[in-house]
Symmetry: none
Amino acid sequence: MPENAPGRQKKNMPKRGPYKAGLERQKQILEAAKNLLIDEGYHNFSIRKVAKRVGISPGNLQHHFATRDDLVSAMLDHVISRYLLELEVIKNKASSPKECLISVIEFVTRDLQTRDTTVFFPEIWSLSNHDEYINTLMQQMYKVYRRIYEDIALQINPSLTEQQGRLIALFISATIEGHTMFIGYKKSNNGMCEGVIKMICSTALQIIESGDIPAERAKN
Amino acid sequence: MPENAPGRQKKNMPKRGPYKAGLERQKQILEAAKNLLIDEGYHNFSIRKVAKRVGISPGNLQHHFATRDDLVSAMLDHVISRYLLELEVIKNKASSPKECLISVIEFVTRDLQTRDTTVFFPEIWSLSNHDEYINTLMQQMYKVYRRIYEDIALQINPSLTEQQGRLIALFISATIEGHTMFIGYKKSNNGMCEGVIKMICSTALQIIESGDIPAERAKN
Amino acid sequence: MPENAPGRQKKNMPKRGPYKAGLERQKQILEAAKNLLIDEGYHNFSIRKVAKRVGISPGNLQHHFATRDDLVSAMLDHVISRYLLELEVIKNKASSPKECLISVIEFVTRDLQTRDTTVFFPEIWSLSNHDEYINTLMQQMYKVYRRIYEDIALQINPSLTEQQGRLIALFISATIEGHTMFIGYKKSNNGMCEGVIKMICSTALQIIESGDIPAERAKN
Amino acid sequence: MPENAPGRQKKNMPKRGPYKAGLERQKQILEAAKNLLIDEGYHNFSIRKVAKRVGISPGNLQHHFATRDDLVSAMLDHVISRYLLELEVIKNKASSPKECLISVIEFVTRDLQTRDTTVFFPEIWSLSNHDEYINTLMQQMYKVYRRIYEDIALQINPSLTEQQGRLIALFISATIEGHTMFIGYKKSNNGMCEGVIKMICSTALQIIESGDIPAERAKN
DNA sequence: AATGAATGAGCGTTCATTCAT
DNA sequence: TATGAATGAACGCTCATTCAT
């Protein structure tokens, strides 16, 4: 058993890694798992179904991912890191902070309308409330993601404090995510996407530039 | 067989209703179902667990709610209509449109921090992608909810078109909902709640008053 | 609880009989039970389904027929006695033994092609192997039925012994019944019905008239 | 998952078959299923009971036969093909058509008196009215079986048309089957078996030799 | 790296039956 | 005469997991 796939592993025995063919298999499995999650939802997710999609036996799948939790964790890792990578590319394409802000907002918001994103993220949101590991994973992802907005905000308006930057970044990212259920794939208001984008962009810019952000007090 | 609980029923045969004790039971069941959903998530939801929580046999539960879907639907109905009722009360307490806007935003956003709300709504969001009935239920709820913001917006700024009102309402509601995963119960940024509220309020007012909302074109 | 419906009752408490309306209900129930048996087979038979067909509650049905076995027994009684009555009528219409033989054979064989008969009797045959009460009921019915052939045979050929008459009657009745699965309702050879009838008639007559029947020895 | 046992399968994916031990298990299961059917009847048939008889877990049984229908189908297949094989042997032992006719009739009729046959076939007859797959299976079996009588009849009396041969074969086979409920295992007239055999044989021979069979018209 | 065999628990559901109303 | 409430057992089935091969 390799058990060296990323995820929730406890025991980390120093074993030989998977063969090349094995790595290919793992990717197949993770893709199939992602698609199953999206097609049927987490409440209909099972390793047997994943195995059937890949065309291997459940026993074999469990050779690659020892437990169901391992598989789910690895799959979420897989999808999330790919998503963050995409974001990085978008960010690096822009030549000015403002342009960067707008292109990231546009990319993320338009991406909400793809089936994968419309379905995948709410799945994570609900899961994060019942599984601490998944919650951590998700919060890490959003921290990395919000960092983009924080950096941009401070570049556009250097007079902002770090805390203000964090609050702004939180506000922008939460605002975008919150539209998923309304303008997402097959959602009844998906025609409003472009209008929403404009509102988010102008609001974000206005907040950043005005610097009129409440001072924070909470610690936690 | 009662089967006349709210939910996914189509044919409404003229049957005698349940006894008083039966109605009490139904409420107990719906409460237990809600709590189970919140405690363990939809993927761990089962009628047997609900029955165990109520302290009755699965057979008896199925006497009250014939199928799992019936139970889930009735439970969602139950929770959602109670939530909308609460909103109505908040709305009616306010004496001016602006005050109303602020108090509704404050109520809803603070409510995000209760465990029930933090957990319950993401559950619905994810479910709505896999169950058309639940999606319809959810969209109806949000339509009623957004109607509040639409009315307020048009009262504050009568020059807004209906479409602009709808877009604003969508933006405000989506912005609030989007914070659930970040400032909700036990979420890492839950200390930022008050700051977020201020930003949402000022942003909402600014958008409504400026009337600087993109004209829409998409139909779909 | 009346419990005075025919069937498998053990305790026969001297209670007042059912009201007129109750008797009507009992007939409704028995008819519904018969139709359910025919529509879905004994393995899908349940008192709940019967109750649903009648439009009453299972509890109420069980007020009329205390147990499932009671209901089944009463229903079989009901159908069988009606069937024997029909036969009696056919028999009495004929003016000569030969004519009687032919008309009974024709009636019974053609009746095999009705859906009710095609389905109902195999159901009894299989049940009789697992329920002694039903087996007794069935054997009684066939005894009465075969008696018709016995009488006719002895009338046509008075030189036959009683044993020979019984053997002939058994042979004729078994021959007819055996065609159920082949020329019955929706069965692949149901076009051969008339040919079959002619063969049965001529064979029966030939056996009776020739008297060339093996002497029996077995006792049991 | 083997799922390659005979039965109601459609797609025949090129999977590796079961291990040797697995094949043994499948046979055990089919035997247990047959015996359960005979002991308790189809209405008391359950995969759990079969599993208990074999001494395995229900889950394991479902590994070999994925659904209840698969199991039932495979079991019927199993029993029927064994039965047809036996018949073939009997047929091939005979040296003349007449002898063959008599030995087949004797074998089949006497076999009616074994418990297995007395119980098994009525079970199929009733099931065939509620399950199209089983009806097809049964009709195929009887077609093969009747073919024996058809061939013999045409050998004994070559002047018979094919249609006449089919009608005769139907009549002989139906006549035999029809005696199951009367001379079968523990049935009240089982002492008449030998007399019945003689009547069937002489009747069959007489019909075949005389060629006095009604011309058919119906098509269907 | 892969499959098949096996377990045991849990699921939604149906059911016969009992009983209070 | 009728319904609704309730139980407890059984059903077919899916599942995560383990293990021998």
